[in-house]
């Protein structure tokens, strides 16, 4: 079996992830930050260490500014809904996931105006187009760091500089990049960084969060939910300090124990080393697919400009059929269709049919890529007959 759906969820995970979760459940699986008995404090320390690990990964100086959520979708909802008010304007791009577009379309109905800056047919965003889209009432620039459909990497640092020049907060969706593209909130001038634990960070599902830059004033960001935090319990008002302001209810501490282990694994291996490995795999895949007659590859087709996610089609064959046959005849698991991103598929011209997507990951090998190329070759040959 070959698993090529790492863009959705990475699998398998490093063994230390499951071990850390098991250890937490067996040795300290109590409520973190609620009681003050030693186990509760130990659970609290586990969650705190996960904050520290994430802060280190994105170069944030204060781990208390790492807010945990159930996933990146919740983090993006928190940022968009927490920040934007009727009458305000937001700039986003043509390769966004529905995790950004759906909350924005809902806000649009409430009076927020949206500019979707188009990307090139390979998904590339021109920072100058972002600058041109800014208005006096622009309250946020929200961008995907890399397309989940074609892998194209957005020039984040350039846009960060433009946003800050105009005093506009900058939100970045790192769902496809955290763990595989070096992240530096300060250097990239990111104010709000949304991440997920279960993709390239190699952690468990149900983990993710929003990291607030040191200079971002959290008074402007309303919480998505309110409730018990284990702090300020004498008050019926939500605490104003981080991370409690945005973290109500018992957290996924067992998941965060796994996330701590996975982020440490990624940091020990080195984000740049993982990136280099994935670039080798991507180059191999792109070269192989380019040589198969009848195969159309979308996106930049350049490992330097994209993450290890490659979308393609066989001319004249339904992507759904290709996916099914890849699994049934070759044991290759991948994802076909629209990948929750109609915007990106419109950008590359594959809406509404969709594509076949190979999402390669840190655990994949060159042998697997070569085997997959052979399978695609065989299917494409049949389609031509």
């Amino acid at each position: 079996m070959i698993y090529f759906d790492n863009a959705a969820t990475s699998w398998p995970k490093p063994p230390c992830v499951g071990e850390a979760m098991m250890r937490f459940m067996q040795e300290a699986g109590v409520n973190p930050g609620r009681g003050s008995y030693h186990l509760a404090i130990e659970a609290g320390r586990t969650v705190y260490r996960a904050r520290e690990a994430v802060a280190r990964l994105v170069n944030a100086s204060n781990p208390l500014r790492v807010v945990f959520t159930a996933n990146v979708t919740e983090a993006l909802n928190l940022a968009l809904r927490g920040l934007l008010r009727p009458g305000q304007h937001v700039v986003t791009s043509g390769i966004e996931h529905n995790a950004v577009m759906r909350p924005l379309r809902a806000l649009e109905r409430e009076g927020v105006s949206i500019t979707v800056v188009p990307c090139s047919p390979t998904g590339l965003l021109d920072p100058a187009d972002v600058r041109a889209a800014l208005r006096p009432e622009t309250a946020l620039v929200a961008l995907n760091h890399a397309s989940n459909v074609i892998g194209t990497i957005t020039p984040i640092a350039e846009v960060g500089a433009i946003a800050h020049e105009h005093g506009i907060p900058f939100l970045v969706d790192t769902a496809q990049t955290a763990g595989v593209v070096p992240l530096d909130m300060a250097a990239m001038q990111i104010d709000l960084l949304a991440f997920t634990g279960h993709k390239a960070l190699l952690g468990p599902m149900g983990t993710g969060g929003l990291v607030l830059a040191e200079g971002f004033d959290e008074a402007r960001l309303e919480p998505l939910i309110r409730g018990g935090t284990g702090s300020n319990s004498e008050w019926e008002e939500q605490p104003s300090f981080l991370p409690d302001k945005y973290e109500s209810g018992t957290p996924n501490a067992v998941g965060l124990a796994g996330l701590e282990a996975s982020v440490h694994w990624v940091l020990a291996r080195g984000v740049e080393t993982i990136r280099a490995h994935e670039q080798v795999l991507t180059a191999l895949l792109l070269d192989g697919l380019a040589e198969i007659p009848g195969v159309i590859v979308y996106g930049p087709r350049d490992p330097a400009q994209q993450v290890a996610t490659v979308s393609w089609n066989i001319a004249g064959m339904d992507p759904g059929e290709v996916g099914l046959r890849l699994e049934e005849e070759y044991g290759i698991l991948c994802r076909v269709g629209l990948h929750c991103s109609p915007a990106a598929h419109r950008t590359i011209g594959t809406f509404p049919t969709g594509t076949v997507r190979f999402g390669l990951g840190a655990m994949n090998t060159q042998e697997e890529v070569l085997e997959a190329i052979k399978a695609v070759y065989a299917l494409a040959k049949e389609a031509r007959c």
């Binding site: 930050g33 009681g35 003050s36 702090s231 300020n232 605490p239």
Partner: protein, 74 residues
């Protein structure tokens, strides 16, 4: 008689753990204990440190932008 320990009140367990880490790095031992009821109606956790470490501890925490909400002798 001067008390041997004092407690530093902080807003939450996350703060307490962060303060504990900063202090440990500076070689100051802190124990996380429930906030004594006479100091707060809060259900939270606070840091107990030796009285003699107080001055240095406050310096470390100030540098880490983590100043306690209150300090009490135990």
């Amino acid at each position: 008689m001067l008390s041997q320990f004092c407690v530093l009140l902080v807003p939450s367990t996350s703060y307490a753990v962060r303060a504990e880490n900063l202090l440990a790095r500076a070689g100051i031992e802190a124990k996380l204990i429930p906030v004594p009821r006479k100091f707060s109606s809060n259900c939270g956790t606070c840091l107990r440190i030796a009285r003699e470490d107080l001055e240095r501890a406050l310096e470390v925490l100030k540098k880490g932008k983590l100043e306690p909400e209150a300090v009490h002798d135990l």
